[in-house]
């Protein structure tokens, strides 16, 4: 059963600048499915629209256009519907330093969503649930952690409080924006394994936003690669990470460190700070692409390059003909 269908989602921002205003398409027509019991990893350039996309899915930001369907239906925007939605769809924010309330204790951060969405609980049940959550994210001993305020915690400890808080209401969908970026490998693997277990046991659907290609590959079924607001490649995680086809994904892959792997990293990197104008009709990567051709001034549609493996690049235009 498909949990989440994202269709043609667009977010435009207006930016002030010296000569007036300018539009920026932070998310530019993104579609994908997020299903119960599976993880989609979202990787891509810094500033490519990953957090904006997640915030739209969490209903913290209204899309400029496009829609999100849950189990085939567009969810209403009334208060009741929104509240139910927020319990089902939880987000772990990218910045744990900004997303926790400095005046509230860890215990408060966790018991609030439990009370709000967890049904009627006695206070001892509540404490027990809070402690179990803390154990799960390796914040121990729980009885000492509950009374702490965010500023008494290290960066990685705050990140784990944020994860525990998102798991508290027993969500069906978890939008995790760089949830483990400040954790050492050991705790990082624990948390990712925990998400993996919840996915299997409780049919959780997970969107895992990360810059870490290795864990994107190991902890997800599908990978989406974003570049300047668009999904430029998608497919099964092994296909995308091990056999990347889009020139941007290849660049990303070649820049990724691989301690245990064998292939050396060579590709020199062309810095590119210039943003694509909002009205641009071409391939967003063409300014940096070593293969750019004249056709690239038109936006490439998605071409299949393997089973369930698609990429938006004119280089693979012919593969469509072979496949059809």
């Amino acid at each position: 059963m498909s949990t989440f269908e994202v269709r043609d989602l667009v977010k435009e921002f207006r930016l002030r600048e010296k000569g007036g205003r300018r539009r920026l398409r932070a998310v530019d027509g993104v579609s994908f499915d997020l299903s119960a019991g599976s993880t989609v990893a979202l990787v891509g350039e810094s500033g490519s629209g990953k957090s904006t996309l997640a915030r739209m899915l969490a209903r913290l930001l209204p899309p400029s256009s496009g829609e999100v369907r849950v189990d085939g239906r567009v969810v209403g925007t009334g208060r009741g519907a929104t509240r139910g939605y927020r319990g089902d769809v939880q987000m772990v924010f990218q910045d744990p330093f900004a997303s926790l309330n400095p005046f509230h204790t860890v215990g408060h951060h966790l018991s609030r969503p439990l009370r709000l969405h967890g049904g009627r609980l006695t206070s001892s049940e509540l404490n027990e649930r809070v402690e179990r959550l803390l154990e799960r994210v390796a914040l121990v001993p729980p009885d000492r952690v509950v009374g702490k305020q965010p500023h008494e915690l290290s960066g990685g400890q705050r990140q784990r409080v944020a994860i525990a808080r998102a798991l508290a209401p027993g969500p069906r969908v978890l939008l995790a924006d760089e949830p483990v970026s400040m954790l050492d490998v050991s705790v990082r693997l624990d948390i990712l394994n925990l998400m993996d277990r919840l996915k299997a046991e409780e049919d959780l659907a997970v969107l895992y936003i990360t810059h870490d290609l290795a864990t994107a590959r190991h902890f997800s079924e599908r990978v989406l690669v974003m570049y300047r607001g668009q999904v430029v490649e998608r497919g099964d995680s092994d296909d995308v990470i091990l056999r990347p086809r889009h020139p941007y994904t290849r660049l990303l892959r070649s820049a990724a460190p691989d301690p245990g792997g064998s292939d050396p990293l060579t590709v020199p990197v062309e810095p590119a700070s210039t943003e694509v104008p909002a009205g641009d009709q071409g391939c967003p990567f063409r300014a940096r692409c070593p293969h750019a051709m004249s056709v690239c001034s038109r936006r490439p549609p998605e071409f299949p390059v393997g089973d369930g493996h698609l990429t938006s690049c004119w280089l693979y235009e012919s593969s469509t003909e072979e496949n059809t």
Binding site: L15, S46, S51, Q159, V187, L189, D190, P259, S262, S273
Partner: protein, 365 residues
């Protein structure tokens, strides 16, 4: 104690930390940094890694004199070595002296820096402030040009100068903070998890920029990160912390090839490979000790596959082990490399760099 590594002839210290201890006062004080000895060479990049919550940020704050109550330095000293050989006792500075010293010598990119920009000022206003203060000779036009140049340096479109922090992505904000620190041209730059929101391509560009500037301006960097592969790539030397202490330290190549401390081994071995087999990906079973405890044993003992009786009774000192595969490079705090304490020579498997995690059930709690 001789903390000077031997890998380079020209190595001279810019910062020496001796016996530094920091507590957070509470009913049961948290001993977050415990008798840390570390030396940073002039122009060197020192990587600092360790478990979440082991005291890395606290150490950086202490050295920068940025601790606020309830945190207190309870022991030790930090010495800054000037190029002409003069020394400054960092903990003795106060008032104007301290302000000037921090301003000229040290800079820090804080963990969570993406949240440290002023939300009501544009990026341009904030960058210009720093430039005006640090490069007073610049006029308005030149400052504008410098601002644009700085953003480009970190791969952000200069047209974003007029954006407010909330209009930038997490990684863009991190890059603005890095750009600001670079304006300061310090002798020592502390970077605490500065790249958590950057994709690997941008990360590489920025690291290349930092290494280039370092060569040009000669500053030293203390780089704190959980990303071991990044650390191995960028650092000249690496220090590994566990439960408030430095448990191993040495040249990057040596540490990669022949890590001595079982915790270092565990860290290096549990790093998931991009192309490798995904089965059995797990960290180091067991938990970090409570930092409120005083530790008169090896803090890693509960989780260590090589522990013996001595490990539970005596804290291993951080010393060189010249007979180990590391030779004269670096130090490690582990009894296993000291036959007189351990009882035998170090186990073969330890020397081979094996870390067979003990099962969770074997871990004594």
């Amino acid at each position: 104690m001789n903390t000077q590594p031997t890998f380079s002839e020209r190595w001279s210290p810019v910062l020496t930390v001796r016996g530094l201890s920091v507590d957070y006062e509470a009913d049961r004080p948290v001993h977050a940094v415990r008798e840390v000895d570390l030396a940073l060479g002039r122009g060197e990049i020192l990587g600092l890694a360790g478990e979440s919550g082991c005291g890395k940020s606290t150490l950086a704050y202490a050295v920068n004199r940025l601790l606020r109550p309830p945190a207190h330095v309870v022991g030790g000293e930090v010495v800054f070595h000037h190029a002409d050989g003069a020394e400054t006792d960092v903990f003795a500075l106060d008032g104007e002296q301290l302000r000037r010293f921090r301003w000229n010598r040290l800079a820090m990119v804080f963990q969570g820096a993406m949240n440290a920009l002023n939300p009501v000022l544009t990026v341009r206003a904030q960058l210009e402030d720093v430039i005006r203060a640090h490069e007073p000779a610049t006029d308005r036009r030149e400052r504008g040009r410098r601002c644009a140049e700085l953003l480009e340096l970190v791969g952000v479109d200069p047209r974003r100068l007029d954006s407010y922090p909330h209009e930038l992505s997490g990684g863009m904000r991190q890059r603005v903070m890095i750009a600001m620190a670079l304006v300061l041209r310090p002798d020592v730059l502390f970077m605490d998890e500065p790249t958590t929101a950057l994709d690997v391509v941008v990360q590489r560009e920025i690291l290349a920029e930092i290494t280039r500037l370092r060569a040009e301006l000669g500053f030293a960097v203390v780089f704190i990160t959980h990303d071991m592969s990044l650390l191995l790539e960028i650092s000249d030397r690496i220090a590994i912390m566990y439960a408030g202490r430095v448990v191993e330290e040495g040249g990057t190549e040596r540490l990669r090839r022949t890590p001595l401390h079982p915790y270092t081994l565990g860290l290096l071995r549990s790093f998931p490979s991009l192309t490798g087999d995904p089965t059995g990906l797990h960290g180091i079973p067991g938990r970090t000790p409570d930092l409120a405890e005083s530790l008169d044993r090896c803090a890693f003992a509960e989780r260590c596959p090589y522990r013996r009786e001595v490990c539970d009774g005596e804290q291993p000192p951080l010393v060189a082990h010249p007979d180990s595969p590391a030779g004269a490079d670096g130090r490690a705090a582990c009894h296993a490399h000291d036959p007189s304490r351990y009882g035998t020579a170090p186990p073969e498997s330890l020397l081979r760099g094996e870390f067979r995690p003990i099962e969770e059930s074997e871990v004594i709690r």
